[in-house]
Symmetry: C2
Subunit: 424 residues, 2 copies
């Protein structure tokens, strides 16, 4: 007898992250530099407790927090989200930052999922960065979408390469299947790269140019999950602020990374008709994100606890990033390259091309034998038959590991690399 | 230019519930007997506060609650869920009730959504009760599924009708498209009917008989959302307890109704390969339900607060049901029929066939003019071209309205009905 599973279920692979998590759990001594988990010691236990007690102190404020809310989300949180982004972007015209365009979701992950559902049929095409956030690639695979990768430069995607990809899709009559460009624009997962504002403008203009041949809008899905985790330099304006393009930008943000990942509250700012479609889909998913989480967060924001915590968190990650940088400098062979990112949770280490880092490679197995885990770079590349997947990189996270474990983990990994990299 | 929306998005209609909610919000004086919201005054503000403070009192227990968890859910909550159901079902062999088979979800709604995703392609067929839970019909529509309705009797679906539907699908070669039978088995939304255990056994056997012609398993999706809201009579064993059929039963439950709807924690117990497929899909949706909610609930359960609250909630709903029953007896014309359910949140009123209750009917408009809202019965029937949709029923909820509003609402509705129903 055959399985009754749907085409979607048959396509949906075990996520890479599950394998990494299972590996971590099975080896209690393992130092994981793989997890995208946030820093345990800095989780806002007191801030969350105080905010919840504010709410649950009386039936007047407690009952609404424990009741169903609306599908789009808690009005106060939507309003604050909109005005906060408007302030970050330094925009006075509030139109693109209307609270009506904000949808609260279960982490930004749910927004990415529903956006794919709302825009893409099996066989449709999305353009992603090379490399990109690997859980998004899981969504792409599950929905039977085709991905095209665009190379990155120090300030975001390579525009000339993006144009060549668009041209080749046009030539082959495939533009009608292209629905969106997915960019992780701040301290990108996995490379740490931040996309410059000029790149966002240019990318939007380029997409627009190909819309006639596509026959429909081509959206920019801007994933800003790490935007608030900046510890040096200035913020970059979002694509929402690009004049004349607000109806083409879907902005995904989250409060999980800057506040508490156990809260799982994210959000999107969406243009019509995507907003209506995604909100209806959200109604079918779950009616709306848990009211208690949203109101706790709204309370933490209103009392200033959120901003205060965020400041502390930034200092903490800056410290951990410095520890990892120093360890990399001390322990890694000079043939391995990495860049400073000034925010986020990751270093992206590039080994010589001849040295593989995948799960079956010598380096990965030796690292595991030395009880240290990283994310193999190849996991972060889309399946795109037009290019070979690079297999010589690793994502190293300082998010969850303690400073001592960061030092020790990089030391062990360095020893593995010295053994496996031939002196140039 | 065309829209870029997917086929799914183009199919996804505005949910009926949104229209009802918008109507309610636009009329502050309206008495809504439509909302499936739970009772405000009995929301467990103190129990939730105490449980959260237990957790967030110290970093040792507070940090894990604010960190990411696993996709399948908090181990303690999964284990308790499994053993609680095993106890309810009075089963000693624990195999079907293993914690490994439990998946924690964002309300049981998310489980229904993901089950549809995991099993059904566009064009596939699901069999539902006539009438059924209308939000499930939204999922059916969104995924492009075809629904067949089966009539109900006082103790669940009409088995003879179910067999005729299966036969007709077989005759037309459509059984390979049939994936599941969806039953709301306890105090059904909207009718209040509870499915007898013998019916579950017979339905499972009947489905099995047609599997050969289908070429794949046909699942029973048992939605037990209202199981814990019983206030008279004995519990009925679930389909999980039917010997030899555990690999065909997907059981959906929730802690939103018995504890707090603002917590949005539900669960499923699933057989392979559906469990693996749905867990992977959940990973793509959101990685896992917010840890803070799961741990708060686990804490409320461990301390006995959950059970104590549930006892109080049952007494409260029993009281509100009695108020509605008395008002129905006093104010409704004798030509309108309804049944006792002994649990759940609803009365299902059946008017003479000649009297329509839909949103464009005289009755509905007169009720709205009198500032009282109900759910028109037709909203609860699937689109099934093989039968006419009944249009002479109404769902009346005593969940959210106060006792005074229940009395006044039924009185107003009664006055409308006396005017619109010709004496027989």
């Amino acid at each position: 007898m055959k399985t009754a599973l749907s085409a979607l279920a048959r396509r949906t692979a075990a996520p890479s992250i599950s394998w990494l998590m299972a590996t971590t759990l099975a080896r209690p001594k393992l130092i994981s530099l793989a997890a995208g988990f946030t820093d345990n010691a800095s989780l806002p236990v007191r801030e969350a407790r105080d905010s919840m007690n504010d709410l649950l102190r009386s039936p007047q404020t407690g009952q609404p927090a424990l009741q169903y809310g609306s599908t789009a989300g808690e009005p106060k949180l939507r309003a604050w989200t909109a005005s906060h982004l408007q302030k970050l972007d330094g925009i006075s015209a509030p139109k693109n930052y209307s609270a009506d365009r904000v949808l609260i979701t279960n982490g930004s992950q749910q927004l990415l999922y529903m956006t794919a559902e709302a825009l893409c049929d099996a066989g449709d095409i999305v353009i992603v960065e090379d490399p990109t956030y690997f859980v998004f690639l899981g969504i792409v695979q599950s929905h039977g979408l085709r991905a095209r990768g665009v190379r990155m430069t120090a300030d975001g995607i390579d525009l000339a390469h993006l144009e060549r990809v668009l041209e080749s899709l046009k030539r082959r009559g495939e533009l009608p299947r292209l629905k969106l460009l997915y960019l992780v624009t701040y301290f990108q997962n996995p490379t740490g790269i931040t996309t410059g504002f000029a790149k966002k403008v240019a990318a939007l203009k380029l997409l627009k140019k190909y819309e006639r041949a596509a026959g429909h809008p081509i959206y920019l899905l801007e994933d800003a999950a790490y935007r608030e985790l900046r510890f040096t330099g200035d913020d970059v304006k979002s694509a929402l602020s690009v004049r004349g393009f607000a109806d083409r930008v879907i902005y995904a943000g989250t409060y999980s990374k800057p506040f508490a990942s156990g809260l799982r509250v994210g959000f999107g700012i969406l243009p019509e008709p995507v907003l209506t479609a995604v909100t209806r889909i959200k109604g079918n998913h779950d009616f709306g994100t848990a009211n208690l989480l949203q109101q706790t967060l709204a309370r933490a924001i209103a009392t200033g606890r959120y901003e205060k915590h965020l400041g502390a968190l930034r200092r903490r990650y800056a410290g951990k990033a410095a520890v990892m940088r120093a360890a990399l400098q001390k322990h890694f062979p000079p043939a391995v390259k990495w860049d400073e990112s000034g925010g986020g949770l990751y270093f992206w280490a590039r080994l010589p091309r001849s040295v593989a880092t995948g799960v079956k490679s010598k380096v990965f197995r030796a690292a595991l034998a030395a009880e240290v885990l990283y994310v193999p770079g190849a996991m972060c590349y889309a399946d795109d038959a037009t290019r070979r997947k690079p297999d010589n990189e690793m994502r190293l996270s300082y998010g969850n590991a303690s400073e001592a474990n960061i030092r020790e983990g990089i030391k062990r990994l360095g020893a593995v690399l010295w053994k496996n990299i031939q002196p140039g």
